[in-house]
Symmetry: C2
Subunit: 131 residues, 2 copies
DNA sequence: ATAATATATGAATATAAACGAATATAATCA
DNA sequence: TGATTATATTCGTTTATATTCATATATTAT
């Protein structure tokens, strides 16, 4: 759990996208995978790496596993906070992801709805819609 | 020259060691390789990566190539400065490297001397000595 | 108990990264 | 000019990383 390991964990776009979402509050795995449009197994693996680097932590509730940012590590390694708060916002991709998250939260739908494909993000305009 | 590329460039111990040295001022390739005890080809390749990520820049003078940190990028991406100034100092390895650099500078020897093996760093105590 | 669902993991593959040894290139020195 | 030196680059090898598919595990719902 050294410095290099933390920097390596941050050196991947998908993981930065995940952290960008988690900065807004905890999410379960299926919410992350649906919002980012990546596979379940890939999501799990990236979260595993972030956990191992101690950047995120999780707790289980029913069948879900909720991940959240380890706030202690943001305090200890302020450069992580710096990246998440000041760098990601500059790039379109991360802003778009946050917009999808916002729409999902606004919709008041659950992650069950997400998985049952009642909810999708259209590719073209990132709108959340119900089938 | 995006964010990911910069973070990737920082996610390697050898490159952090190089940047740690360069933070004290410019150095030519052979000085870096001798102080860090890594091969010439490896040094060159890591410097190439740092250059490509725009973290360092260089100029040529006679047969030497001098590398230095690109101060503009430290201003633009303050997390880099944060890592170099506040994180590296916490680890023994980087402190030892700086100590070697200090002894080399104190010795007033040139990088020609380094290469001609008039100067070595003993493994055990990191002392600079002249053969 | 059985079925369905959320998550993790094993296995396979593809791609990238790190490294040493040898070679190429370019500048300097004798 | 020819020899030496500093640096970059190529090649081959090894290791690490990202990804997908399929399967295992555990929890919930019926």
């Amino acid at each position: 759990m050294g410095l290099i390991q933390i920097i390596k964990a941050l050196s991947d776009e998908t993981r930065l996208r995940i952290l960008n979402l988690l900065r807004q509050g905890e999410l379960c795995v299926c919410e992350i995978e649906t919002i980012l449009g990546i596979t379940q197994s890939n999501t799990s693996r990236h979260l595993n790496k972030l956990t191992y680097a101690n950047i995120v932590e999780f707790y289980k509730k029913a069948q879900y596993v909720y991940y959240k940012i380890n706030e202690d590590i943001l305090k200890r390694y302020s450069f992580i906070k710096e990246i998440l708060d000041n760098e990601l916002i500059r790039e379109e991709l991360y802003r778009t992801d946050l917009e999808k998250l916002r729409r999902y939260r606004e919709s008041k739908l659950s992650c069950d709805d997400l998985r049952r494909n009642k909810v999708c993000f259209e590719e073209e305009n990132q709108n959340l819609f119900i089938e």
